[in-house]
Amino acid sequence: MVAINLTVNGTPHHLDVEPRWLLADVLRENLGLTGTHLGCEQGVCGACTVLLDARPVRSCLTLAVMADGAEIVTVEGLAQNGQLSAVQNAFWQEHALQCGFCTPGFLITATHFLSQNPHPTRAQIREALSGNLCRCTGYQNIVNAVERASAAPVQVAKAIASEDGN
């Protein structure tokens, strides 16, 4: 076992982990944050995407020991003080999810993307989402949602600022 420190959604955790444990498993099993989903464990579907020091990573391809000292944001950390983030709200209004299994990964990816590119074109949105798979929606409403959230840049910027931490 290796001792690591993780700050997840603003809460510090001290954990003993096996070197081979995936970050996704530690978040889900050890911290009970089951919002991060495992769709493939092959690094392709993006369902497991979390922010690691403000960058999106596939938590199925990241060992927990590699995240020692990092700030992690999962889907559970997107809403602030019980308020949905602009991206979450847009997903809801635009019917951007059906089964919801892929959704956490899309929300994290979109949140990060809009922090880098607050006024994207539709084509840029599609490109940015191309690393996440959704089997239900056909993507169109997800693209609509990201477009809608991009029209609310103030809230998005705020959500990102509070996620960045340091």
Partner: protein
């Protein structure tokens, strides 16, 4: 206060399901954790066809944290045949022979999946390989038998005939032949299959969390298989991450998890991974058709003859239904006076087939649409005109297609198709197409018409319950895999009881909460459960009128319910709403809250309709296909929530485009699957998929009181037909003919190379 607001039904209301899902609070089976649970991993066959000579588990058993290594020889109960796979079912664990790569042989229970997989790696199995049978037409000759005890590889051979059948081809003026193929596809919901079960030895109750589309069917299978009282088996489908048909069947993992939880009196959980979705989850589509279509001189269809073979994989299961349903869909929305269709459902050394979204609808429509295109090309007719003139017209309704139980009943197919052609502006497109061709750019147009045959059997039910403060709990046994029924059924219930939607809570998929159900598949839930809401609401209101009568000190027959209020007929000024009833009931300290459960049954199918059109651009040097425009004109019947209906249609269309352009399960000659990850089996992504335009032309279904039609499978039906059609059209001048779906970039590149069309 009277509620005079507009009804909820018919409005695009965002879903009640979403707030918790978008905050990561949805509970899927993989999120369920029983204390002291043992996690299951499976050792699966690495051979498509072999005798098992020896299984050695000694070293695996020594790993700390491993609790049990389970084989059928140690636990002979596991030699039983899986239920629901008649007439040729596999044993729960293979023990003497394996019939496909991925068939489970050993189950390992350990503290974690990590440890269970470590142990699985150490299990040694000696095989004696047998020749693998991987081609259905060859298998049908029975030269080599998969299951000698079954006597043949042909699971089923059936014939369907109408009019003069094959004889009528003699009277045709023109005859067109083709052999058309569809490759194997895999549903690949984003959540892999999963189960978690806990047994309570003192009460004899087994609780099963199950990513299933049908909790009651699962309950029945489990109870029958293990000799349990169904009352003691509670099956709950929590959030399910997509189903698309493949979470509806009988699987070895269901039998294993429930058996081991019960026998070892230990909570057992299995969360499949993506490899297991490729190796162990049932697949679909693979068929070859030898078709002849005959026409009159004027281009009217005279007769269709089709002999086809479905590669069903190693065992029966739901594949036979797919094969039968293919035949039901071959006429599509076209008038075919004489039919002769025969199907062979044949076993091979591959993963078994089971219904995947569409379940024969895409296959059948692929045949008729491709044959009409082919005929037009060969006989020098216009593809669009040929389709138009053979469509069933409104004056033909009810139109019996010649296939038993399929009678088209509503809509206006030629009008909707005409509207599609106008939307696409065919003349303008043809000009643009020829201009582009001058510049070496290949544009193509594909159109396709389809009927979506939905429901048409069985029942579904709902249960209303009055709760504190006038809250209404609505329960149904139908399950959710993302369709949004909780919202749709709440809309219907709120309207039926004249209350705000927030006052309604909907719970689905729990055998502990409602006596019976069939489940969610075949685009049936809104048709069946939606109508059940109306029926049950009436019964519920009748029951609760008695409470109101008490409050009003009136005879129950004098109490009326109108606009959310109970009052004595003629005296609306003194009235009570649901909250008042609930308060009164609570003050009387009854042991239980008032409920009413009711069911809607129907054996009449519904017939939705769609005209799809696509415009593509093909790069001749790379064979890359870009979708410029995808237009759908769609008859969804009466729509409860347009957000959800369009979501189903668009989601289905994109899923279909995957199976038209990229997705195919490939197997080596030894039956080894070659596509076992998302890297090799490519799902459509956001970048290559278009924005789909959906225009409604809704005609209420005459066959059910509320006029609902299915929408879940509408989008996926025409995809393969329309995409092959469009790619051919892009190379019309060089006579490109495509007979195999999907048209992957690689396959198209080869076809173009053969014609010298790419540089």
């Amino acid at each position: 206060m009277p509620n005079t607001s507009t009804p909820f039904t018919g409005r695009p209301i965002p879903r009640m399901e979403d707030p918790h899902l978008i905050q990561g609070q949805g509970t899927y089976v993989s999120d369920i954790h029983f204390d002291h649970q043992w996690v299951m991993a499976l050792v699966r066959s690495s051979h498509a066809h072999a005798l098992i000579k020896d299984i050695r588990c000694g070293t695996a058993a020594k790993i700390p944290g491993v609790h049990a290594i389970v084989t059928a020889s140690e636990y002979p109960d596991l030699k039983r045949r899986l239920p629901g796979m008649e007439p040729m079912a596999p044993p729960i664990l293979a023990y003497d022979r394996v019939h496909y790569v991925g068939q489970p042989i050993v189950a390992i229970l350990a503290d974690s999946r990590y440890i269970a997989e470590d142990a699985a790696d150490l299990v040694e199995i000696d095989y004696e390989p047998l020749p693998a049978i991987t081609n259905a037409e060859i298998a049908a000759r029975d030269e080599n038998l998969l299951h000698p005890e079954f006597g043949t590889n042909v699971l089923e051979h059936f014939e369907k005939q109408s009019g003069d059948g094959v004889q009528a081809l003699r009277t045709a003026h023109h005859v067109v032949n083709a052999t058309l193929r569809m490759g194997r596809v895999s549903a690949q919901p984003m959540e892999p299959r999963a189960l978690a079960a806990q047994y309570d030895p003192s009460s004899g109750e087994l609780l099963v969390y199950h990513a299933t589309q049908s909790v009651h069917r699962a309950q029945e299978r489990i109870a029958n298989l293990w000799g349990m009282d169904p009352e003691k088996v509670r099956v709950v489908a929590p959030e399910v991450g997509g189903g698309f048909g493949v979470k509806n069947g009988s699987y070895p993992e269901e039998a294993l998890v429930t058996y081991l939880a019960k026998t070892l009196a230990q909570p057992v959980k299995w969360s499949g991974d993506r490899f297991e979705e490729f190796f162990g989850t049932y697949q679909e589509r693979e068929q070859v058709h030898h078709v002849t279509l005959g026409f009159s001189q004027e281009g009217m269809i005279v007769a269709l003859h089709d002999t086809y073979y479905q590669d069903n994989g190693a065992f029966a299961g739901g594949g036979m239904l797919v094969s039968q349903n293919t035949a039901r869909n071959i006429p599509g929305p076209y008038r075919i006076p004489n039919l002769y269709i025969e199907g062979y459902t044949v076993m091979t050394n591959k993963v078994p087939q089971a219904p995947y979204r569409g379940a024969g609808r895409p296959q059948g429509h692929y045949i008729i649409e491709r044959m009409l295109d082919r005929a037009a090309d060969q006989l020098g007719w216009d593809r669009l005109e040929l389709k138009m003139k053979n469509l069933v017209a409104p004056k033909d309704f009810p139109y019996a297609t010649g296939i038993e139980g399929v009678t088209l009943d509503s809509g206006n197919y030629p009008r909707v198709f005409q509207d599609l052609l106008e939307e696409l502006d065919i003349d303008a497109f043809r000009m643009r197409q020829s201009e582009a061709r001058q510049q070496g750019i290949r544009l193509g147009l594909g159109v396709s018409n389809s009927v979506e045959i939905s429901a048409g059997f069985g029942f579904e039910g709902v249960r209303f319950q009055l709760n504190p403060s006038g809250q209404i709990l609505l329960t149904t046994g139908a399950t959710n895999q993302g369709q949004g029924h909780r919202t749709a059924l709440a809309q219907l219930a709120a309207d039926a009881l004249s209350i705000p939607m927030e006052q309604v809570t909907v719970i689905e998929g729990d055998t502990g909460r409602i006596a019976r159900s069939i489940g969610t598949f075949g685009s049936r839930t809104i048709i069946m459960a939606g109508n059940a809401v109306r029926v049950a609401a009436q019964g519920f209101i009748d029951k609760t009128r008695a409470i109101a009568a008490d409050l009003l000190e009136a005879h129950v027959d004098d109490v009326v319910f109108d606009n959310g209020q109970f009052f004595v007929k003629g005296v609306p000024s003194v009235s009570h709403d649901w909250k008042a009833l609930a308060d009164a009931w609570q003050s009387q300290s009854h042991p239980e809250w008032p409920t009413h459960e009711d069911y809607f049954s129907s054996s009449s199918a519904t017939y939705g309709f769609g005209s799809h059109g696509v415009i593509i651009a093909v790069n001749p040097s790379t064979a890359a296909v870009r979708i410029e425009r995808y237009v759908i004109l769609h008859d969804s019947g009466r729509v409860v929530n347009p957000l959800l209906a369009n979501g189903q249609v668009i989601g289905g269309a994109v899923q279909g485009l995957g199976s038209a352009l990229y997705e195919e399960m490939l197997f080596g000659p030894d039956g080894e699957p070659l596509t076992t990850s998302f890297l090799d089996y490519r799902l459509p992504g956001a970048n290559e998929m278009p924005d789909i335009e959906v225009y409604h032309r809704d005609y209420p279904a005459p066959s059910n009181p509320e006029g609902y039609k299915g929408v879940g499978e509408a989008g996926i039906i025409p995809s393969q037909a329309i995409m092959l059609s469009a790619v051919e059209d892009a190379f019309r001048d060089v006579g490109l003919r495509l007979d195999y779906a999907p048209i992957t970039p690689g396959r198209l590149f080869k076809s173009l190379q053969e014609r010298g069309e790419n540089a």
